[in-house]
């Protein structure tokens, strides 16, 4: 039986406790809380990605497709039909889940680099479509969330703190889903598929179905993040919401820098990368054009060379985590 108060679990509880207390210390309409909210949102995105990337070991470079589908579905439903983004968020999740199911048909046999490339192309397809269907999507001009003061029923708030709470809730939910999947029956099947697909199939695992379930759940959660992102930043356009480097790569990067396939990885990765990028921008962007991005790239390379298993590897090496090591590396 699992120890309810294992060090890993305690660390996780501590993280969420700190996250819950943070807004009390920050200006509710300031910049810091926006950065903090971004950290949590990207952690949630990376955790959603982690379901496919970490558990099934399918390196997707196209999750921006689902992210954008979520943002577009909820925003268009609101702008054209007046449907509140709270409902739009659910519709977006269903749409993205459906898209993931469709994409699974041609890609489920693909592995490693091939899968990465196919998903990358899928996100590009979505970007081109959003750009060309100007009548429906607003085209390259993008979509704005109209400014209408504080209207909780319509997912609009004046203070950043309100968004922060919502995002924190989302992150908790995504982490819970990840944990359930990882420790449940489907997690074992996914791991079996990851280690040896042929063997898993012989052992009676319906590999297609297992992978399909994982990618549909992952896509639906990513779409929810997309809706929240749109509401939170008020504006998006096809090139930024379906961006390879801005969204797809970043989601995966956070999970990988933190620790692929671990529950804590996306949290650690986001906590490390997002503030770092923000500081690089704040300090360096008035120095020389390109310097901040350059520094960011150098740090990324450094992080991967020094610890290719991600920052979580440091935690797993501490004496507290030693007891849980076997379980954690297995997950």
């Amino acid at each position: 039986m699992r120890n309810l108060f294992s060090p890993s679990r305690a660390a996780l509880l501590l993280f969420f406790l700190a996250a819950a207390l943070l807004p009390l210390a920050l200006d509710p309409r300031g910049h810091l809380i926006r950065v903090a909210a971004m950290v949590l949102l990207f952690a949630a995105m990376a955790q959603s990605w982690n379901i496919v990337g970490g558990l099934a070991n399918q390196i997707s470079l196209g999750h921006a497709a689902f992210f954008g589908l979520g943002a577009y579905t909820s925003t268009l439903l609101f702008l054209k039909l007046g449907v509140t983004p709270w409902i739009g968020m659910g519709v977006g999740a269903v749409v993205a889940g459906g898209a993931a199911a469709l994409l699974s048909i041609p890609t489920f046999r693909l592995k490693g680099h091939y899968f990465a490339l196919a998903t990358l192309a899928f996100a590009e397809v979505m970007r081109v479509i959003a750009n060309s269907l100007g009548d429906v999507t607003g085209g390259p001009v993008g979509l704005s969330i109209p400014f209408m003061g504080s209207q909780p029923a319509l997912f609009a708030f004046r203070s950043v703190a309100s968004y922060y709470w919502i995002i924190l809730g989302l992150l908790v939910a995504v982490c819970a889903v990840f944990h359930l999947l990882a420790s449940g029956a489907i997690g074992y099947r996914l791991r079996a598929v990851r280690e040896n697909e042929a063997a898993a199939e012989v052992a009676g695992v319906d590999t297609f179905r297992v992978k399909l379930t994982a990618s549909v759940i992952s896509a639906a959660l990513t779409a929810v993040c997309g809706t929240v992102f749109a509401q939170f930043t008020f504006f998006f356009d096809p090139d930024s919401i379906f961006s390879l480097s801005g969204i797809s790569v970043r989601m995966a990067m956070i999970a990988i820098v933190g620790g692929l396939g671990t529950l804590g990885g996306p949290l650690v990765g986001a906590l490390f990368l997002i503030p770092l990028e923000e500081v690089a921008n704040a300090v360096l962007s008035s120095q020389a054009a390109g310097l901040s991005q350059f520094a960011f790239g150098v740090i990324l390379i450094g992080a991967i060379l020094i610890q290719p298993r991600g920052l979580m590897a440091y935690w797993l090496r501490t004496p507290w985590a030693k007891t849980r090591r076997a379980a954690a590396t297995g997950a």
Binding site: D27, R29, G30, H31, L32, R34, V35, M38, V128, N131, S132, G134, G139, P140, V141, G142, S144, I145, P146, F147, R158, T233, F234, F235, F236, D237, D239, S240, I241, S243, G246, I247, L271, F272, P275, L276, E278, V279, N281, A282, V283, S285, S286, A289, G290, S292, Q293, I306, Q307, L311, Y314, R317
Partner: protein
């Protein structure tokens, strides 16, 4: 493959320290006492960096000029201090703008050459109630009924309409009647808005649009485009694009000996690199523009001495945008964002750096649009474009198919 055994725990400690320092930095307030702070957001990296840097230079030059002339007199000669932020993509705009507002405490924000980035930034400034003065001209910017956004130049569709109207007027004066035109544009916010203006103007004038083609940003091969253009029988081509596409299109036309006049849609057609890329083939190319150096010779000279190239329209307009902010502070006798906004809304002045804006004045209407400005048409002469149309702004006469039009 790690050669030396790294002290991993030390590395982990180092990373934690970096993280802690990060938050400590973000939390530290950065505010100087007597200066007034104005935020500048521009794409300083990424594909539009070329334009962002030009715009940034214009703003910096304007700040130097205003400060050298004694700063904001009404605030005891307070100096304008610019706080720059790089916004390579719309995704980064919200966070960067928020940072300038709450971290640096800027009184106003100037910039974001790119329309979509400006739209993203304006959603933040509107909610934070900080004035944003911009050059970007997609129609949506002033079309949302926002109170804190001010646009120094006309709308994108107005540029499109002017591109068509001015060109056909010049052709007519040269004795050529235009029946068929072609519109080629890149599928960005700027390209689609301006193409819409072109299309509507052509319809209003009863001229047939024989080719109306959008193409993706960063197109690597324009030959299909030029093949279509050649087959269409258009008498004038109106391309709306950034630089790379503009060079490709003009070169492909010259290769195929297609000599129909090309009327550029600003952006890539009026920057120094256009000439560098095309050499003598740049000469005589017409383009619509928001401003031109020959309308404000002093600023143009200072700019050229300092940066070595002729002043671009994004530099002129952003200089005027900062000037408007400074004038509003004078008028409000305050650097409080709300008061600066109210002063901007009722601003009505001519001269100063606003002389670089066609019409020479700045007066914002209810939507925040500068009603006194209008697009101009420029034509390449030697190393720089000169203003050739409309006659009230022109410094030289236009040339159509090699002959000067009176």
């Amino acid at each position: 493959m790690m050669s030396a055994p790294l002290d991993r725990r030390r590395t982990a400690g180092l990373m934690l320290a970096v993280g802690a320092a990060t938050f400590a930095f973000l939390a530290a307030p950065a505010r100087a006492a007597d200066d007034v702070l104005v935020g500048v957001i521009q794409p300083l990296s990424g594909p539009n960096a070329q334009f962002g840097i030009g715009a940034q230079r214009g703003t910096e030059l304007a700040a130097e000029i205003i400060n050298a002339a004694g700063g904001i007199q009404a605030l005891g000669g307070a100096k304008i201090k610019l706080v720059a932020a790089d916004v390579p993509t719309p995704n980064t705009a919200a966070a960067a703008t928020q940072r300038l507002i709450s971290q640096n405490g800027v009184s106003a924000v100037v910039g974001a050459f790119v329309s979509s980035t400006t739209l993203a930034a304006s959603e933040v400034t509107e909610r934070a109630q900080i004035p944003l003065v911009t050059f970007a001209f997609a129609d949506q910017i002033t079309g949302r009924g926002y109170a804190y956004v001010f646009q120094v130049s006309p709308k994108g569709t107005a540029f499109g309409a002017a591109q068509f109207d001015y060109a056909t007027a010049i052709a007519k004066a040269a004795g050529e009647k235009i029946d068929k035109v072609a519109i080629l544009y890149e599928d960005t916010a700027y390209g689609t808005a301006q193409a819409k203006g072109l299309r509507e103007a052509a319809k209003a004038a009863g001229v047939e649009v024989v080719l109306d083609e959008a193409y993706p940003l960063g197109i690597t091969d324009v030959s299909p485009l030029v093949n279509k253009l050649r087959a269409s029988g258009a008498q004038i081509a109106f391309p709306v694009s950034y630089l790379n596409d503009s060079l490709l299109i003009i070169r492909a036309l010259r290769q195929q000996n297609i000599d129909i006049p090309v009327i550029g849609g600003a952006a890539g057609y009026i920057i120094p690199d256009f000439k560098k890329g095309l050499g003598a083939y740049a000469d005589g190319v017409l383009s619509v523009a928001a401003a031109s150096g020959d309308m404000i010779p002093d600023l143009a000279r200072t700019y050229k001495d300092k940066y070595g190239t002729f002043i671009t329209h994004e530099a002129i307009i952003h200089a005027a945008a900062l000037d408007a902010v400074a004038k509003a502070m004078e008028k409000a006798k305050s650097a409080d964002p709300q008061k600066v906004r109210d002063a901007l809304a009722t601003l009505d002045y001519c001269g100063g750096l606003a002389a670089g804006v066609p019409g020479g004045c700045i007066t914002f209407d209810k939507t925040g649009l500068n009603t006194s400005s209008f697009p101009i048409m420029v034509q390449w002469r030697g190393d720089a474009p000169v203003t050739v149309y409309p006659p009230k702004a022109a410094t030289e006469k236009p040339v159509w198919r090699g002959k000067t039009v009176e």
